[in-house]
């Protein structure tokens, strides 16, 4: 069950702490993690997804420009024939947003799941296991609400 996950921070965002934690959590959970680091472009995500035959692409954004940065993201993936589950998470809007509206915005952009910054990594792992139909484990019984 060596599922591969491509992980990175999009745009010119340099908040690295979140993906550092995520990398460790997904690795511990048994995934192969390709961490592209901060300030990753759409194209770099697509390339890595192709190279590593990623099952999932995890995009992180904290600095408030996620929407601009993600416009066209799924088109770039499609052009590269990437057929992976896509998640995005972090502080996705500038200011004190209503998260439900934010979630809709990013769903409309093509993301399969949208997580806010209160998300515990375990939650995302449980969701991904479900989406990739990986044999359920203990952790899976956590509620997934994204």
């Amino acid at each position: 069950m060596s599922n591969t996950v491509v992980l990175g921070v999009i745009g010119s965002d340099a908040h690295v702490v979140g993906i550092t934690i995520l990398e460790q959590a997904f690795s511990t959970a048994g995934f192969d993690v390709v961490n592209l680091g901060v300030q990753t472009s759409r194209e770099e995500f697509a390339e890595a997804a192709v190279t590593h035959e990623a099952d999932a692409v995890l995009v992180s954004s904290l600095y408030g420009h996620a929407e601009q940065d993600c416009r066209g993201f799924h088109e770039v993936l499609a052009e590269a024939d990437v057929d992976a589950v896509t998640y995005i998470g972090g502080n996705l809007a500038v200011g004190q947003d209503d998260f439900e509206r934010t979630r809709e915005t990013f769903r409309a952009l093509g993301f399969d799941r949208v997580f806010d910054s209160e998300t515990d990594p375990e939650e995302a792992i449980a969701a991904l296991r479900r989406d990739l139909e990986i044999t359920p484990t203990e952790a899976d019984r956590l509620t997934v609400s994204s």
Binding site: A14, I21, Q39, G64, A93, S117
Partner: protein, 479 residues
């Protein structure tokens, strides 16, 4: 590669012209006119003077919105309702990337729709005139706060625009903020910024420079932060800067924070030339905040108390909405007033805590070791020393997104909540110091009955946002 030497006047002029030509608004910069404008400002808008003559910690928030009139309104509100002593103008992320075109688009969208399409104030696009309108309109000194690796044009325009304080530095606005710029490059860029500030200083306009002390904001060991402050202070002094504010970000342990602020001031006085007036700034907790305004107020309160004891010259406040996103004006002002109340209630009290001196000694020993290693590696040149130190990992920053730092250092809290070093990489400190850290961390591991590992680091990263200082194993179980 440049050395740590003052940029000659002709070279300064050359770069200055080149920079000003790189974007249309650059052409409005005129040095003589700018000096005259600064001279026309009233005493209470002179940043360095106000800061250096204060007898209580001054408070300053973070704040920046795209439109000029909104920014004026925002700063006025923070000054009046928030009782801020010093005001900020935080620059948007596109400008930080020198993507002025995108910033322009964002600004126009903002003007048309009223939405804040940028996460800050695009000062380059507003130009000299826009900046002066801002400086004229608000009634306190204003600092430019950003995170820009190449801030040369931003400096040229905002200095000419009347700003008298400028945050950042070649390391502190590179390593934590980007992975797209080499350190040699940012040192060159910032030599220009400092040289420009020095040119104003020579003419009596003492532009205050403030290296960004908190770095990645996440469990940064004090000695690492202080070392970088000293380097940036020295580099700025070489270029003629005479008002330097060294920074430090709260780690949350009161003894360690007070000790670090005292060490910062002492070492600043020790290392920086006498001609420089050294001040200090304390940043309220820069790591992950609790996702709850009430709990965030607790974090802010502890920051205020620490400031009351350590008495830095300035405190950069956080808002209770830090976790969620850019705060509303009201929340930003609330963070200021909560801090003010705690400081003013505590500052007249004699609160002498045991163990501060020992902790300060340890921090100073570590810092001496690090900064001397930088000097050694530079063989007489601080620029070279800095590059080699980062390259070899002799100097390093935890959680650095930049490849210019090894990022091999991993911090963790000890049993008392002080930040210690778990993984050293090639950090230039001797075994005796390492043994002290190791013993402290061993005690914690013992208390918790688990091994020292990345798990511990991850738990500590989340701890404050989850309501504790130390990421104990059962803390996670709770959540």
């Amino acid at each position: 590669m440049r050395r740590d030497e003052r940029i000659p006047s002709d070279e300064l002029r050359r770069i200055d012209e080149e920079i000003r030509e790189s974007w249309p608004t650059g052409s409005a910069v005129d040095f003589e006119d700018a000096v005259a404008y600064h001279d026309s400002l009233p005493a209470h808008k002179r940043f360095a003077d106000v800061l250096e003559s204060a007898d209580e910690p001054l408070l300053q928030p973070r704040a920046g919105v795209p439109r000029l009139d909104d920014q004026i309104e925002l700063l006025a509100a923070l000054h009046e309702d928030g009782e801020a002593d010093l005001l900020p103008t935080t620059i948007d992320s596109y400008t930080r990337d020198n993507a002025y075109e995108k910033a322009q688009e964002g600004l126009e969208t903002a003007r048309e729709t009223g939405d804040d399409a940028l996460n800050g104030f695009p000062a380059v696009n507003h130009g000299v005139e826009g900046c002066r309108e801002l400086i004229d309109a608000v009634d306190a000194p204003v600092e430019v706060r950003h995170g820009t690796p190449d801030a040369r044009l931003l400096a040229a325009i905002t200095f000419a625009g009347g700003f008298q304080s400028f945050e950042g530095g070649p390391i502190s606005y590179n390593i934590p903020y980007t992975n797209c710029h080499g350190l040699a490059e940012t040192i060159e860029n910032w030599q220009f910024v400092d040289r420009l500030a020095g040119a104003y200083t020579e003419r009596g306009v003492r532009i205050n420079r403030e290296p960004f002390g908190p770095l990645t904001g996440t469990l940064v060991p004090p000695s690492i932060a202080i070392t970088i402050m000293l380097i940036e202070g020295l580099l700025a002094a070489t270029q003629g800067v005479r008002s330097i504010t060294l920074g430090y970000g709260q780690v949350g342990n009161v003894v360690q924070d007070v000790a670090a602020l005292r060490a910062l001031r002492e070492l600043g006085e020790e290392y920086l030339p006498d001609a420089v007036v050294v001040t200090t700034v304390f940043h309220e907790w820069m790591g992950g905040f609790p996702p709850d305004e009430a709990r965030a107020n607790g974090v802010i309160g502890l920051g205020g108390l620490t400031a009351a004891i350590a008495r830095p010259d300035k405190v950069i406040t956080k808002s209770p909405q830090e976790f969620q996103g850019v705060p509303t004006t009201e929340a930003n002002a609330a963070g200021l007033r909560t801090t003010r109340q705690v400081i003013d209630m505590a500052i007249e009290q004699e609160i002498d805590i045991d163990g501060i001196d020992e902790e300060q000694d340890l921090i100073e020993r570590e810092t001496h070791s690090l900064i001397e290693a930088v000097f050694d590696r530079g063989d007489g040149d601080l620029v070279r020393g800095t590059l080699e130190a980062f390259d070899s990992g002799a100097l390093d920053v935890p959680f650095a997104p930049s490849d210019s730092a090894k990022g091999a250092v991993l911090p963790a809290r000890d049993d008392d909540g002080r930040v210690r070093i778990l993984e050293w990489g090639d950090l230039a400190v001797d075994d005796e110091i390492r043994a002290i850290h190791r013993a402290r961390l061993a005690k914690r591991a013992d208390t918790e009955g688990r091994d020292q590992s990345f798990r511990m680091v991850a738990d500590d990263v989340d701890a404050i946002s989850e309501g504790k200082l130390i990421g104990r194993p059962d803390t996670r179980g709770d959540v």
